[in-house]
Symmetry: C2
Subunit: 333 residues, 2 copies
DNA sequence: GGTGGAAGCTGGAACGTTCCAGACTGTGCG
DNA sequence: CGCACAGTCTGGAACGTTCCAGCTTCCACC
């Protein structure tokens, strides 16, 4: 099925064109230093032999891989959006993206190890769950950019959304609609959860609604959202802010099954503006993380670190944006 | 921020452990030929130096990449399940998985090109959408295994589910429950859609229910399912088989919003047994594709091709399995 | 006519592995 | 006692590039 013959190398081309390997190397890299006529002869020879440079050898010798390693959760919708944008952001930079997935059977450590082996020049980690200490250890070996999670340590760069600010926007929006009894379904130990919780509390306090504050344990998944919604049904508030869109979907589902009207009986605000929220039949009001900007900044930062460019702030915080859709409205009662 | 020091190499580890490079190489590859005590010392030294083998050098020298390229759709839930299992299936084989994602801004051609440059030894494509001709062209360069889509051409290997059989099981199940008016929401031009449609038709005919056959245009996404469900609501059947779980979720959502009881008013059967279907609050009766077996077979086949092992059948068809959950029951009226 | 320097080219040393041939032990057996 | 042999371990040659120092020419300029 495949031709068994050896691939052509620089040496083969050199022999055929009657010049040295070095010269062929120059020509192949479009570097100056070869005469027009020779250049033509070399290219001709290369073409006849079907020569393609071997990137492994090239990278080995030049000591660079021009690879940005990206660790993402394959089951995480928003990570899918980020990966999509990371590819786009890297396209123009001369660097390439190498993916490594975290799956139920493959933890972050393993995913990271794979990328290190490929000699990535920097690592971009999407919402990593591992302890700060191990991130810091990683960062002694190569630049590490953490996306969508805060890390309090000078060794790693962070690009994240102003999560507290996001919950302020959500609460403001709900208050403006006339809501007072606003609950929050939180994300437990998930990246960003603590700050969103804090934002929620602060925002309620800001409106003098402290006594209505109510935090229900949730999580990252539809399942978690469904469970939390069932808890809420006993004594429902008029609105709820939810840790993320996926979790909010679970909430919506349980509400629909119990015949509750959204937004009539209960208004729901998600978080992420993931693909999910945008679906016409979900049509979820949500806090949009600006994935385009975040990924662009992350790639930029990774390259700055690789190339030793000075960097102003270690942490970049991107403002979120409220996207009003169909799951929020004035309370009825 | 980063230690300016060079990355550790075999030689560094060797020096530290007081042995030769060759021996360290052996130990790192878990090859026999090193004493227990020495092995321990080497591993310790490697760990202290944070040594990771350089895959470029390794590959350059050995002339092999031992890399299986996997092209998957980042927005496709079931692909996530497959990737998870592919990592697991590859783990024991000595080959590694290199991922390349298809995103809205990055088509299959581009995803494939990336993997070719990395010198993958075989390609595993998850439900590729590209025409057979271009798959065949690819296959002249390296072994190509297509997963979860049928391809009628001797040049590529195929591992897929017996999709028609799956719809037979779904219809049998529904008929047994007492349903007659069973509709099908199809997947249009998506991989597998045609065969599932055919299976649906055959199965109805087998039960003498031809005249109830009704195919509603659907698609791959929740959106498509929601649209199809709205069409069905005018003149609802008592049961519906849906192209995939994601699409079925859209159907369920619309039904819930319109106050229809599932399975009372309408029974729903999905396809894939993706993560989605298993969620407690969705609890979707579905046709499980055996991702574990399929991925194991795909990896096995890829390696057989790479190593030139003779292969019996070019196409392997894996039987699906009905998973009865909460969205199917007897019709009421 | 000599000097300087650019343009064009060459040879060989890296890069970090793997692979191979062989050296050095100790042990079992005739 | 000597020999074979298994078990360990070493040294050095690849792999296909890039990079560097240096070698010719040739021409312009004083």
């Amino acid at each position: 099925m495949r031709s068994a013959e050896r691939r052509a190398t620089l040496a083969d081309v050199a022999a055929r064109a009657g010049v040295s390997k070095s010269l062929v190397s120059l020509v192949m890299r479009h570097e100056p230093g070869a005469g027009t006529e020779t250049r033509r002869r070399v290219l001709e020879a290369a073409d006849e032999l079907g020569y393609h440079p071997d990137s492994r050898a090239r990278l080995l010798r030049s000591g660079r891989s021009r690879l940005l390693g990206v660790v993402f959760g394959i089951q995480h919708d928003f990570h899918g959006d980020l990966v999509t944008d990371l590819y786009a952001a890297a396209r123009e930079t001369g660097y390439e993206v190498a993916l490594s997935a975290v799956t139920p059977g493959r933890d972050e450590r393993e995913a990271t190890a794979g990328l290190l082996q490929d000699r990535c020049e920097a690592l971009i980690l999407l919402g990593p769950q591992q302890p700060t200490a191990s991130l810091v250890r990683l960062a002694t070996r190569l630049p590490v950019i953490v996306l969508a999670r805060g890390v309090r340590h000078a060794a790693v760069d962070v690009v994240r959304t102003a999560d507290a600010e996001g919950l302020h926007q959500a609460v403001d929006h709900l208050v403006q609609l006339g809501h007072r009894r606003i609950a929050h379904i939180d994300g437990g130990r998930a990246p960003g959860a603590a700050e969103r919780r804090r934002g929620y509390r602060d925002a309620l306090r800001g409106h003098g609604l402290d006594r209505y504050a109510r935090i229900v344990p949730g999580g990252l998944t539809e399942e978690d959202g469904a469970a939390a919604a069932r808890v809420l049904l006993d004594d429902p508030p008029t609105a709820v802010t939810v840790f993320n869109d996926r979790c909010a979907t679970g909430v919506l589902d349980v509400l629909a099954r119990h015949g509750r009207q959204v937004p009539g009986d209960l208004s729901v605000v998600g978080y992420d503006d993931s693909r999910l929220a945008r679906l016409a039949h979900v049509d979820l009001t949500t806090i949009a993380q600006d994935a385009g900007t975040m990924t662009r900044l992350a790639v930029r930062r990774a390259i700055d670190r690789i190339e030793g460019t000075a960097v102003a702030r270690r942490e970049v915080v991107v403002p979120p944006r409220l996207v009003v859709r169909g799951t929020t409205g004035p309370p009825i009662h």
